[in-house]
Symmetry: C2
Amino acid sequence: MSSFGEPIDGIRVDANALLGWTADIIRRLRTPDDVAQDVAEVLVAADLRGIASHGTFRLPVYASLAEAGVIATTARPSRDGGTPVLSRWDAADGWGPHAGRVLMDDAIERALDLGLAASLARRASHFGIAGWYSIRAASRGLIGMTMTNASPLVAPTRSRKRLLGTNPIAVAAPAGRFGTFVLDMATSAVTWGRVLVADRRGQEVEPGVAIDEEGWSSTVPSRVLTSGALLPLGGTEATAGYKGYGLAMLVDVLTGVLAGANFGTRVVPFSTTAGPSNLGQLFLAIDPALAGDDGFETRMEALCEELVNAPLAPDAPGPVLIPGQPEAQLEAERRRDGIPFEPTDVEALVRLGERLRAPFPEPMPGPGSSAATGSTQPLAQEAR
Amino acid sequence: MSSFGEPIDGIRVDANALLGWTADIIRRLRTPDDVAQDVAEVLVAADLRGIASHGTFRLPVYASLAEAGVIATTARPSRDGGTPVLSRWDAADGWGPHAGRVLMDDAIERALDLGLAASLARRASHFGIAGWYSIRAASRGLIGMTMTNASPLVAPTRSRKRLLGTNPIAVAAPAGRFGTFVLDMATSAVTWGRVLVADRRGQEVEPGVAIDEEGWSSTVPSRVLTSGALLPLGGTEATAGYKGYGLAMLVDVLTGVLAGANFGTRVVPFSTTAGPSNLGQLFLAIDPALAGDDGFETRMEALCEELVNAPLAPDAPGPVLIPGQPEAQLEAERRRDGIPFEPTDVEALVRLGERLRAPFPEPMPGPGSSAATGSTQPLAQEAR
C-alpha cells in the first residue's frame, strides 16, 4: 500500500515539471489535450497543498481505470436537464477533474449574472480534491461550494457497517489580504488516508474515530482497514457523532440522490475496475457583489483579523489559523522548493512513465533542507 | 436560570392551547395578528420537537426585548437588494420567526419556478429553531436549507475566547414513507443549553466539548458558563475540532458577512436589551422535481431503508435513526399527550400571562403516565 501521508525522507520534484509530465501521462491514456490538462492541474494542486492522498500518487490507479474503460477518457460532460439556475449534467463517466472544472466554470458564469447558480453531475468520476473547484470560484471573487459523494467507508451512528462515503464539503471565499478562506473537509472524523498512514508507521489512531468489524471502537489501524469503518465527524453518539452522520447523509442527498446518481452503498469504490462509480456532485457559486451589500471582502478581513489575533489556549501549538491558510502556505513553499515524494511512490510513478513512454521528471538537486518545514501543517485538512 | 432540558417531573399543556396563548402574548406586545401567529408557531414547534431551549420557555425574554424596543414588533421584512435568485432582505429588527417564514416562503415560491432560490436577511432577530424553516420547504416537496449566525459562545480551535456563535445549519428534505430528513445542528460540539442543564443537575459535561477561562479543557459547567467557551463540533484539534470551527465560520460567512449584517463578536447577545442583534440569515430552497431527475423521494426511501436496517454496533442503544426521526416521533406524542414543562418555567409563564392579562392555559389533567416515554430522544438535536 502506498503513501497517503507527508513524506518523511523523499525526493523533490519541480511542480511545473510534474504538471507537464502528469498531463502527458493522461494524454497517453487517449485523453484529449484540454481534458488532460484539467486532470493534471487538479492532481498536482493536491500535491502542492499537502493532500498527497489525492495527488499524482494516484496516477497508477487512474491509469488502470482508464485502460479498463471504467473512465471514458474522451467523454465530455453535457447538460441533460435542470434549469438555468440549477443545471444537471451527464458527466458520462469521463475524467472527474475535467467535468468538475467545466461544471464549476459554468456555475461561475451563471452566478455572475444571476447572483447564485449551481451545477449537478451524475455519472461523475472521482474528481480529486473538492477544494480545487471552490477555490476556482473564489479566484473569480465568488463563494464556491463543492460536494461529492464517495464509496462507503463510514458507519452511521449506532451501526457497524460502512454505509456512507467520507462525502466531503468544500467551501471557499475570497478574504482580501487573508487570501482565501477554504474549508475542505471530509464529513468523517478522520480520513481513510490517516488510518493507512498509521498502519504503515505502526501507530494507533485516536480513540473514537473508527470501529472494528464488530462495531467496537478501535485504535488499531489493521482492524479498521480490513473490515471496520470510520466514524462520522464528532465520533461516537456521546460526542455528537450523529451530526457528522447527518452531514455525510446531507452530502449524499444533495449529490447522489438529487442528481439521480448512485448513493449510499450503491457507489462503486474508486479503486476497482468493476464499473464506473456514477458519483453525484454539486458545484455552487455565489456572487457576493450581487448579494445586496458591498464590501464582502472587507468584512471577511475583519472577521479573519479577529480570529488570527485571538488569545490562545495554553496548549495551542500556534496561532489560530484561517481554514485554508496552512495549505496556501505549503503551496507557496512547494512551488518554490518542489513537491516531496516517498521513494516507493516515486518508483511506481517511474514505472508508469516507463510503461507509457513518458519518463518521470528528474528529482530536484540538493538535500532540500527547507523541505522539513513544509511538513508542519497542523490544521491541513487531509481530505477524504 | 431556567430550564433547557427535558422536564423530569412537570405539568403538561395542550399544544393547541399553548399555541393560542403564545400568539395572544405576542399580540399583547403590540404585534400584528399574522406576525404573532408566526412567532407562536415556531416557538411551539420547538416545544413539540423537544428543543425546549428554543420554545415558549423563552417568552419572558422575548417580552422584555419587545418592551425595550429591541425587537421592532410591528416591523415587516422588505426586499432591499440582490437578484431574483438570491434576494436580500432588510428584516428591520422585527420578530425573527415572521421574517424567517416570509423569506423562506419567498425562496420556496421562486425555487418552484427557478429550481433553486435563496433569501438573505440582514438586521434579523433570533428566529427560534432553524429546522422549522427547512421543514417548511420539505413540506412543499422541496429541499430546504437554513443558516443563522448567533452571538459568540464558541472558541475557534487553539483559542480560549468566544469568537463565533453556535451557528446552526438546518437542512430538510422529503423522504417519502420515512417522513422528513431533518438535520438541525449547532456547529458546536454541544449546545449551551446542555451545559446549563448539567450545571443545574450537578453533573459534568463530556470531556473535550468545552473549555474554561484559561483555555483548558473543562468538564465543570460553572467554569464554562462564567467565562469559558464551547468547543466546535469535533472537539479539540486532535479530534478534528477545526472542522467544526470551519463550519461555524462558514455559516458566519454565508449569513452575517454575505448579508452585510453583524458577524463574529459584533453579534449582540440575544438575552440583552443593549440593542438589536442584527443577525444574518440564509434561507435556500431546491426543487428536486426541477433538478433533472425524477423519483427523488423514491431514492430518499432507498437510502433511508438501507440506513435504518443497518447491522448495529454492540453498544448501540437502538436502531440507526434518520436525522429528524426522533423529533418527529416526539412531536406526534406531544400533540396527543401535551407538552411537558418544569414547574419553575411554568411559574415564569404564568406570571407573564398575569402581567399581560392573558392567563396561561390550564394544565392537562391526569398523571400523564405516557409522559415518560417522550423523554427518550437519544439523537434529538437539541440545537444551539
